[in-house]
């Protein structure tokens, strides 16, 4: 008797927690749908604010993609006398260094910094700290090597820094190789939910907007005063986001600043990438949850949203526990509210990975983008949602094991195949 009552309470609490996320994301969707901000396309925005900008491009064994982004960087419309591009070759064993050197020898604003394979290969945070030593400009932007930015992306990103309260900025990530296969199509849907609705709504509501580690940047003096990137963290971006907020600054989201990424194209790569994200996020949850609650720089709404955002990667595990408890509980003792709780638990089966955007949020984002046919794939979110239960459970177990053994978990790099070039050529035939 006692056992069923305890299970009942646990099940009800877990379902309430899940419902809190469902309501949060429904409100986000409503906020963005009420007044959708029109995504600006070319030409570049006119602005007189042109601070000096350092662009960091960390690269490790990226010979298939590094040339593409460096070529694109030379085409940026931002004044080149105010631009410093730093390519960080973090101990590559392929031709990444040679390709980057080709550009650094031809363009005076491109600098190549290299570490040998013995010194490098310690993760992105370590590479960024190495590159930061060379950065001389007021604003620092970061791009991953597999990304392909819009020509006017720098103007679009730096305009946020006109506001002195803004410490960091984030642009929108769009999947470049979306038509390749089922995995890339699902990743594209996840990105739509995350960037078209979730980030946009948080920015509008003045909640915790996330700096995503790429297609974004920060003020150099702030990151230096915070001691650079924390190399022990697997999610250096989330770590930086929270440090910026706790220091009393904001992160601004610019939906117009779009950059195209080469998404993972196999379930194995998906597992590796998302497991790293999960572990990094969980590390941040352990490190910052209490600090958020105690912070005097954050408002109540920011604290609540910050906690929900930080603990989002625990939700697949919560769902798993709710399912495990729910079924035997129902068989042991039926109570009339069970179907309602159970339906809420099941609704989560259609949530995207990363920010847990439920199917209606993803569909609304695709709808706003004018991509009704992409919406047809929304039911397939069930695949990644169930996959995320396994990924997050494994991530938590690995994190706990590494904590017990007092070892840092090694950085697992995502492999990029360079398939994005085909889609760039297809969309821009005269390029």
């Amino acid at each position: 008797m006692m056992l069923t009552e305890i299970l009942e309470v646990i099940f009800a609490l877990l379902t309430l927690l899940m419902s809190a996320y469902l309501v949060r994301h429904y409100l986000f969707t409503l906020i963005v749908l009420q007044k959708p901000k029109k995504v600006e396309q070319y030409p570049a925005v006119a602005s007189t604010y042109h601070p000096t900008v350092s662009i960091l491009i960390p690269a490790l064994d990226e010979e298939r993609v590094i040339g593409r982004i460096l070529k694109r960087i030379t085409e940026l419309s931002y004044p080149k006398d105010k631009l410093q591009v730093i390519v960080i070759d973090d101990g590559s064993l392929d031709a990444t260094g040679e390709i980057a050197r080709y550009y650094s020898e031809r363009y005076n604003y491109v600098t190549l910094v290299q570490r040998s394979w013995r010194e490098g290969r310690h993760g992105k945070a370590s590479a960024l700290n190495f590159g930061m030593k060379q950065a001389k400009c007021e604003i620092v932007l970061c791009f991953d090597a597999d990304y392909y930015p819009q020509k006017d992306i720098v103007e679009k990103l730096v305009r946020a820094f006109e506001d002195p309260k803004v410490g960091a900025v984030q642009g929108r990530v769009v999947v470049l190789n979306e038509p390749k296969n089922l995995v890339t199509r699902i990743v594209a849907l996840e990105r739509i939910g995350g960037y078209r609705i979730d980030q946009e709504a948080r920015d509008r509501l003045g909640l915790i907007t996330q700096y995503g580690g790429t297609v974004g940047g920060f003020r150099r003096d702030i990151i230096e005063s915070l001691g650079g990137f924390d190399e022990s963290m697997l999610a250096e971006d989330t770590d930086l986001t929270l440090r910026v907020y706790l220091a009393g600054y904001k992160v601004k989201y610019e939906v117009d600043a779009q950059c195209y990424e080469e998404a993972v194209d196999s379930w194995k790569s998906y597992w590796r990438q998302r497991k790293r994200w999960s572990m990094g996020h969980m590390q941040c949850a352990f490190k910052y949850s209490l600090k958020i609650l105690r912070s005097k720089n954050l408002k109540l709404g920011e604290k609540i949203d910050g906690l929900l955002m930080l603990n989002v990667y625990f939700m697949p595990i919560v769902i798993l526990i709710a399912w495990i408890i729910g079924i035997p509980l129902f068989l042991l003792k039926y109570y009339r509210w069970f179907p309602v709780f159970w339906s809420a638990a099941l609704l989560f089966m259609y949530s995207s990975f990363g920010n847990f955007a439920p199917f209606y949020e993803v569909a609304a984002g695709a709808y706003l983008d004018g991509r009704s046919r992409a919406c047809w794939l929304t039911p397939l979110l069930i695949i990644t949602s169930l996959y995320s239960v396994l990924i997050c459970t494994k991530a938590l177990l690995d994190l706990l094991v590494s904590k017990l053994r007092k070892r840092t978990y090694p950085w697992e790099k995502t492999e990029h195949k360079g398939d994005g070039n085909y889609y760039i050529m297809r969309n821009v035939p005269n390029q």
Binding site: T29, L176, L331, Y350, Y360, A363, A364, G370, L377, N427
Partner: protein
């Protein structure tokens, strides 16, 4: 927001109609909850109100028919398995309803979107 309020109004009409003509709670619950989800997810989107109402009413009728069919198909099992069936039904029924509901909702967005938007291959301009 006005579309959402109108959708709620339609929802109440559907609920009252169903309650008047169908007394079975096993049949009413999934239809009423599915219809409510359609109201919440469909009406806030930009698009023609007429198309939304058509889609909403059509999906409610479809939901009712599917659940009637399901009831008839499962009736022999319910007779044989007794209370065990009832347990399986309560656990599996929301899942079954959610499977078709999400699929129909996803496809239905094409129906309510503007034609010029519908035919666009991509919203993105990599240039």
């Amino acid at each position: 927001m006005r579309h959402l309020l109108f959708g709620l109004f339609i929802y109440f009409i559907i609920c009252i109609t169903l309650y008047t003509f169908i007394g079975l709670p096993e049949l009413l619950c999934p239809v009423i909850s599915s219809t409510l989800l359609f109201v919440l997810f469909l009406y806030p989107l930009k698009g023609s109100l007429v198309r939304k109402v058509i889609f909403h009413v059509a999906s409610s009728i479809l939901c009712l028919l599917l659940n009637i069919l399901l009831c008839y198909m499962l009736f022999p099992f319910a007779k044989c398995l007794g209370s065990f069936f009832s347990a399986v039904h309560i656990i599996a029924n929301p899942l079954l309803n959610l499977l078709w509901l999400v699929s129909l909702y996803s496809i239905g967005l094409s129906f309510i979107s503007k034609p010029e938007k519908r035919h666009r291959y991509s919203a993105y301009d990599v240039n």
